[in-house]
Symmetry: C3
Subunit: 650 residues, 3 copies
Amino acid sequence: MIRIGVDYYPEHWDRSSWAKDIALMKQTGVTTVRIAEFAWGLMEPIEGNFDFGWLDDIIKMLGDAGIEIILGTPTNCAPLWLYRNYPETLSVERDGTRTATGLRGHRCMESPLFRKYAARIIGEMTKRYAKNLHVIAWQIDNELGANHCCCPVCAAKFREYLKARHGSLEALNHAWGADVWSGEISDWEQITPPVGQLYSYNWYNPGYLLDFHRWAEQSTTGYIQFEIDELRKAVPKKIPITTNACFAQHSMDFHQSYVALDVAAYDNYPETIYPDDPEAVYTTAAALDLMRGVKRKNFWIMEQLSGPFGCWSAMKPMPRPGQIEGYGLQCIAHGADMVLYWRWHAAIKGAETFCQGLIDHSGVPGRRFEEFAHFCKRLQSLDWLDGTVVKSPVAILYGATQMDAFSIQTQSEGFDYWEQLKRWQNAFGGLGVNTDIIHETADLSGYKVVVVPSHFVTNPVTVQNITSFVMNGGTVILTPRTGVKDEDNGCLLAPLPGAFAELAGCTVEEYDPIGKRDVGIDWAGENLTATVWCDVLRPTTGRALAAYTTEFYAGKPAIVENTFCSGTVLSAGVCGKKPLLRKLAKAALDSQQVKYWDTLPEGVQCTTRESADGSVKGRFLFNETAQIQSFVLAGESITLAPCEMKIDRI
Amino acid sequence: MIRIGVDYYPEHWDRSSWAKDIALMKQTGVTTVRIAEFAWGLMEPIEGNFDFGWLDDIIKMLGDAGIEIILGTPTNCAPLWLYRNYPETLSVERDGTRTATGLRGHRCMESPLFRKYAARIIGEMTKRYAKNLHVIAWQIDNELGANHCCCPVCAAKFREYLKARHGSLEALNHAWGADVWSGEISDWEQITPPVGQLYSYNWYNPGYLLDFHRWAEQSTTGYIQFEIDELRKAVPKKIPITTNACFAQHSMDFHQSYVALDVAAYDNYPETIYPDDPEAVYTTAAALDLMRGVKRKNFWIMEQLSGPFGCWSAMKPMPRPGQIEGYGLQCIAHGADMVLYWRWHAAIKGAETFCQGLIDHSGVPGRRFEEFAHFCKRLQSLDWLDGTVVKSPVAILYGATQMDAFSIQTQSEGFDYWEQLKRWQNAFGGLGVNTDIIHETADLSGYKVVVVPSHFVTNPVTVQNITSFVMNGGTVILTPRTGVKDEDNGCLLAPLPGAFAELAGCTVEEYDPIGKRDVGIDWAGENLTATVWCDVLRPTTGRALAAYTTEFYAGKPAIVENTFCSGTVLSAGVCGKKPLLRKLAKAALDSQQVKYWDTLPEGVQCTTRESADGSVKGRFLFNETAQIQSFVLAGESITLAPCEMKIDRI
Amino acid sequence: MIRIGVDYYPEHWDRSSWAKDIALMKQTGVTTVRIAEFAWGLMEPIEGNFDFGWLDDIIKMLGDAGIEIILGTPTNCAPLWLYRNYPETLSVERDGTRTATGLRGHRCMESPLFRKYAARIIGEMTKRYAKNLHVIAWQIDNELGANHCCCPVCAAKFREYLKARHGSLEALNHAWGADVWSGEISDWEQITPPVGQLYSYNWYNPGYLLDFHRWAEQSTTGYIQFEIDELRKAVPKKIPITTNACFAQHSMDFHQSYVALDVAAYDNYPETIYPDDPEAVYTTAAALDLMRGVKRKNFWIMEQLSGPFGCWSAMKPMPRPGQIEGYGLQCIAHGADMVLYWRWHAAIKGAETFCQGLIDHSGVPGRRFEEFAHFCKRLQSLDWLDGTVVKSPVAILYGATQMDAFSIQTQSEGFDYWEQLKRWQNAFGGLGVNTDIIHETADLSGYKVVVVPSHFVTNPVTVQNITSFVMNGGTVILTPRTGVKDEDNGCLLAPLPGAFAELAGCTVEEYDPIGKRDVGIDWAGENLTATVWCDVLRPTTGRALAAYTTEFYAGKPAIVENTFCSGTVLSAGVCGKKPLLRKLAKAALDSQQVKYWDTLPEGVQCTTRESADGSVKGRFLFNETAQIQSFVLAGESITLAPCEMKIDRI
C-alpha cells in the first residue's frame, strides 16, 4: 500500500477541534499521520512528572478512525527545564559558547546526562505505545545532522575516535601532515574540536577537519543506535524504526546512519518558483534517487512541501497549481511508498508560524488542500503500484566523505559536489533512464553504466569495484577532481586521476580552476560549453573524443574514451553544461545498448516502477517546469501542464 | 515664532573663538542653540568633582547676545571613569558581553548605579540653570532607542514586565505558544533577554520577541520619565522638556515615549543624492508627518542636515544647492516650529570628524553656510506663519507594535512596514493633500480618509475606531497583512483580514508572497503594477474594482470596494507601485469629495499650514527632485528648481 | 649576480626524494633556496629537546650541490606544545579571546615567554649554521604585519608608548579630542587596545586608533630588532638579514621595519586573470617600486607566484603561459636581484595544499616548471645586468601613517590610498619613465618630479622637503585629501590643502565625495573623466588648467597649476581616470623636459636598469595584458605576446 498523510500537531490546537480534524482526514483519504516528535515538554512538564493523557487520547481517536500513527521520539527538543537545570546538556557552538535555547536541536547528542533523560522519556513512551496496534512505525528525533558539538564531552569522544583511527600520535601527525606550520600534536589532550575564531574551514588542516567530520557523522550514527536500543527494549521487531533525513549544512552520512534503521525517510521541500537560468538544476529527483539508493529499496517521505518556507527568512511564493499533487507523485515515481505532508494546519504560534500547512491559519481548506484531496483520491486508483520498485541501469556514486572534503577545501568558484550529482541525475532522467544514487562502496553488479562524479578522496573499495565493473564490460564516466586525495585527505603523489589513471587511459597534464568562466569544447563538430574546472587530458591508451576550443589549451583533449578489457571509460575533464552532460550520458548508454528517449524536453523526466517479476510496470512522465510541454514519446503526442504527472501502466 | 538655529559644541573649540561664533550667529539670524548634551566628562571630570565654569560662561555669552539655549542632559555618554570604575553601568550586547566603550550610548538605562550618577549630574545642572531665563527648553539624553540591553538588571525587569502582563506562567506559556519545540517556561528565572548566537530574530518565538520589544520600549519610556522627574525637581513647568527622536534599528515607541514630554523633536537627515529607481520614495515627509502626528501638534527639528554623514562609513556627496534651505522649509511645511542645524562647525576631533557642519573645518563659511544664512533671512519674512498648524483630511495609522512584529517575522522579500507608510504619504502628498501619521489607537474624528497600512497585530481599539469611523461615513483603505495576528503575536484562526473582514466586504482566498517579482493589475482598463505581496480576494458584500492579470490567480480580484453603513472601505490585496497607490488615493478622496491637485509631477509635494480660525493660510510647494519641474497648478504656471520651496499665502 | 631559486620544504617530503630534487634544481639552474621558516616543531619536537639532524643533512646536501641557502627563523609558528602549555604566548584577537591555533602566526610578538623560547630556538639554529658557508642570508619570521594583538602585555606596552608620545594624560586627551562623547582618560589603566564589539574602525576615535596603529607598527619593528639581536650574537655582519614583506590587512610600516635589516624582500603574487574593467590597475609594479624605494636599493623577491592561491578560498585560474617567466623578469626590471619561486613542490598536506608549486602534486614537472626552467636559462644570458640599478626621475611619496589614517576613516566610496599610488606608478610606467616609491620624509634631491598622493596627515618634514624641492625648481603633483590632518589625526583649522596651500596657489572652496559616480573635466578642450572625489579649487596665485563640466560646480577649476620660485605645482582636485592621470604625468614631465614614450599601449610598461657609471643600460618592455600588443617605439615596430618581456641592452 502506498500511504498518504500528514504531519499533525494536535497538542497546539484546542482539543475540541481534534474530532473535526480527524473526520476531515478520513474523508480526504489520509491513511497515516506522524505525531509527537516535539512534544517532550507536554509529556514531562516537570522533571520526572509525566502526562500522557493528551497523547493517549489523540492516539485513540486516530486509531479508532482507522488512521495509522507514526510516533516521533521527542529528543530533538528537550524541555527548557532540562537545559536550565543542567546546562551541560546543551551543545557547544564553534564560538565556544553553549547553544542558545529558543530554536531547536540544542541538545548535545553525546551528553550522558541528556541521554539519561532521553532514555527515560523514550521508555515512558514505549511503555504506553510500543504494543499499540495503530502505531505502525517510530521516528527517531528530527532532521538529524552530523554532530558538530564542541563541548568537552564531544572533545573527549573525538580524541577517542582519533586514537582508534590512528593508533598513535606519530601516525596521527603523519596522517594530517601536522608538521606543516609546527602543528605537531605531542599530547592527545592538545586536540579539540574546531572551536575559535577560525570560522572559515579553509583555514584549518584538511586532515584534521575531515577526521572531525567523520567523527561527527559517527557520533550521530551512535546516537541513532542509542535510540534504537532504547526503543527496541519494547518496540517489536516488525514495527519499523526510521528517522527523517534532510540536506543541511552538516548533513549526517545517510549511508552510515540508515544501516541500523529499517527504512529510509526523507523530508522533501522542492522549489515553488523555478530560476530563470536554463542551466539551473532545481529538481529534487536526485535527492529522491539518493534516498532510495541509501538502503537500495523503497523509502518514505516523512515531510512533503505544503507551503513555502517562511520562518528563517521571508515567506517564499506559494506552491503553484499542480505542485502539491505533482511533487507527491514525483516521490512515488522515484520509489516512495509513503508521502506525509508537512503539515496539516499552519502553525499559529512559534517561529514556524509562516511555514504553511495544507490548511491555512484561517482554518478554511483552500486550493492547496483541494489539490491534496485530489491526490489522495488519485492514489486510490494507483493500487496496482503496490509492491513495485525502481530498477535502474545506471548508478551514480555518492560519498559523504567527498561532500565533507569538498566543504573543507573549495576547489573552484562554483564547484559543488552535490550539484554535480544532481546534474548527472538530470541528464539521465531527461533521457527517461532510471538512476540509483548509491554509496561509492556499494556493489555494482546489475548496472550497465556507473557515473563517478568527483571521487576526490580515494576509497580503495571504490577503485576495486570500478575496476571490476569495467573489466566485466561496464561503462564508467569519470569527472574532474577524481583520485586526488588519500584517505587522510592528503594529496596523492601521482598523475591524476590517480588510482583511476590506467582505467581512464589518460592523465591530467595540467588543470585550470576557471570558476564561473566558460570554456568551449568541440566534440565531433558540435560546439559545447563547460565551466568551473578544466583538466587538460593527455591520452595514454585512450583516444580524445572532444577538445578545448578556448583558453591556452585550445586543441588539447577535454574528453577521453578508453576501452579497458571489455568495458568503456569516459573521462570528462570538465563540468559540462546540460548539452554536454546529455551527450556524455547518451554516449555511455549507447556503449551499453541501453535504450533511452531522446525527445523529452528539458525539465521533463521519465521514470518507471515495476514488480519484481516485471509483470507490472508503470511509467511516470513529469513536467517539472512552469510551462506547458508538448512532445512525442514513442509515437504518442503528449502534452503536460506545469507540474503535471502522467502515469501509464505499460 | 519659528525658531532657527544650530547645535553647538563650544567645549571642543578654543574659548577665544566663542565671541566670534556668537557674533556670526547673531548676524546670520540664529535664534536658538542646543548645547551640552555630550559634555558630562567636562562637567564632572573626576567622580564627584564638578566644573561648570565653562558652561556658565558660554550660557552667559549666548544669553547676553539674545540667543535662546536648549540644554541637553549629558546622560547618553557618562564619563569613561564611570564605566571603568563600575562596569555594571555598561549595557550588555546580544553576544552577552558588556558594550565596548569608544562609541556612545554605552550605559544601561536601567542600571541603578548609572541612574544614581545620572540623577546627580542632572541635579547639578538644574541647580545652576533651571531658572536661567535664556534656557528655553531641556533635551533628555540623545537619540534614544528602545532599550535592548541584555544585562542581569534588565533581565529581571523584563521578567517583572512579563509577570505584570501575563499574570502566570500558564498564561505566558499559552500566549507565546511556548509548547512549540518544548519551550514551556516552568520558572520565571528561565527567561532571559534574547542573548546568544541566534542573531537572526526569525529564529525565535515571535510572542517572546514581541514582548521583549514591548518591554524594551517601555523601559526607555521609564528612563525618560526618570529624567523628567529629576529635571522637574527644579525646572519650572513652563519650560518644555523634550528628547530628539531618530529612526534606527530599534527605535523607541514614539507615541509612548513622547506622552510625558512637552513637545516632540526629530533629527532630520534627508538624502543628498536621489536614487535612480523611479519607484524609490526617498522623502522624509512621512517622518515629519509622523513626528507631528505623535502629539498631534507642531514639533521641533533638533538636528537638521548640514553636510553628509561621514563617520560610520565613507563620506556621502555634499548637500546639493537648495537642500540646506529647501529641506529646512520642508520641515516647516510639515509643521515644524523650530529647525536647528547639526552642527555649527564640523568637528575637528572624534569619530564624527567628517559629519560636516554648516562651517567647514577651514573655519571659512562657504556655500552651505551662505544658504543657511539666506534661509534665516527668508524666515524673517514668514512671520505670518506663527501660530499656524497643519490640518489634514487624511490619517495614516502607525504602530510601533507593527514595526516590531514585522522586524521579527519578515513577510516577503522587499516587504517593509515603514516603507509602506512612506509610499502612502507620498501618494497623498503628491496630490497636495496633507496627511497626519497618527497612532493606530488615536481618535479618528475629523478625518475623511484613513489609511490602515498592514495592521498586522490586531489592536481591538483600532478595530473599534475604524468600524465607528466607517459607520460614520468615512473612507478607509486596507492593505495586505491586516488582521493577521492577535496581541500575543499568534495567528488568528479566521479568514483574513480577520477582524476587518466584515468591513472589507471580502476575505483573502489565498495569498502569494511574491517578493521582488511584479504582478499585473487591471483596474477598469488601466494596466497597473504591484509587487511584494498578493492577496487573492473573494468579495462577500463588496465588489471587485481591479483584478490580477498575471500569475495563476489572473482574473481574480486584487482590489475590492465595500460600502458599509454610510462609509466606504477600499481593500488592496497588493503593495502597489506609485500609479496604483495614486489611483487608490484618488478613489478614496473622490469618495469623500476631498479636493486634490492632479497636476503635480512625481517628487513635488504640496502641503498647507493655517491658523486655527482659517484666516491665515500658507501653501508650500516643494520640488524634491534633482530636476527642474514645471507644471500648472490652479491655472498658474509654476517652475521649481531642484529642492526649491515656493511658499504662498493664500 | 641575479639569483634565482625556490622556497623548499624538504621536511614534508620523504628523505629519499631530496637527492632527486636537488639534482633537478641544479640541472634547471636554481642558485638559491629558502628553507626552514616553519619547521620549529621539527627542530624542537619536545620542549627543550632539539633535533637538527634532518636540517644538517639537507643543508649539507644543498651546499654540496653548490646551492645557496637562506634560512628562516621559525618563529612565525611555535610548536603547538608551547601554546597549549603556555596559553599566554598566544595573541589576543579583537573579540578578546586568545587566537585559535590551527592557522599560523598565533604568537604574541611581545610575550616575554614567547620571546624566551624564540631566542632559544634562534640560538640553537645560529649555533649550528651561523658560520655555514652555504647559508648566505637569514629571513626573520614570515610575512610580518603590524602587531594588532590585544593581550594584557600588549595593552601595557601600548600604554607605555602613549606615555612616551604624549607625556601626560592632559596632552593625550587634548591630542585625541577625548572629550568628545565624554571619553576623557583619567587614568592610564583605562586605555586598552581596540577590543570589543566595535568591529568597524569607523566607530572609534581616530586619534586613538592612529596611535594604536603606530604602536602596532613600532611593536613589529621592535620584534624584528629582537630577532636581529639574537641572530647577530652569532651571524657575521657580512651575512645579510631580511624579512619577507607582503601587503595585508595590517601591513607593517615597511620603511620603519626595514631600517635595521640589510635588504628588503618581498612576496610577489600578481594576478593570473586580468579584470575586464579597463580602469583597473592590476600590476604589482608599484609594489616592486615601493620595495626598491624602501631602502632605495635593489631588493629580493622571497616568494614569487608559481600557481594560484587555493587555500583560504577556491582555487583561482592557473598562471597563463608567459606569466611564470614574465612576472619574474618584471621583478628584475624593477630592481630585484633575486627571485625565489614559492614553492618547489605543491604541498600535499596542510591548509595550503592547493596553493600550487612549480611542480604539481603528481611530481611530474609540467608547463609551469618548463617555463621556470626557461627563465633560469635566459637569466644566464643576462649577466650583464649584474650591478645595475634603477634610476628614476620621478618619486611618488608613501607613508604608512597615511595608509593607517585612511583605513580608520574612509573618505569616499571607492577611495583607496594604495590604489592611488598604483595608478600614478601606472601612469608614469606607461610612459616609459621609472618611478621610485619612497617614504614621504625621504630626501628628494635628484628627482625631477615628485607626486604627493593624498598626504592626509600632515608631516612637517614632508612639507619642508616639498617646499625646498619646488623652490629648487622641481615639479610637484598634489592630489585630493592633502593637508587635512595634524599628526594626532585631528583636522587642521585651515583651508585645504592646508600647509601646501601657498605652494599650490589655490585653496579648496568646497569638496564633494562623489564616490563611484563620474564627473566630467574639460582640459584645454579635451573631455576627461574623474571619480571618487571632487575638490572645487579656487586659484590664488595659480591658474586653472582644467574645469568641471558636470555637477553643480561645473565651470569651476578642477586642476590648478602654480609657479612657485623656479618650480611648478600641479594640483589635481580629483581622482582621475587613466587618460587624466596620463595627461597630468605628461604635463609634469614636460615641465622638466624629461623624455618619455607616448606610444606604449595601456598595460605595457617600460623600465630601465643601468650601471652606476651609465656604461651599461638595459631596457625592459613588458606586456602585462592578455592580448598581443604591437606598437612602435623609437622607430622600431615591436610586438609582444601576453606577459612577454623584451630586454634590450641599449
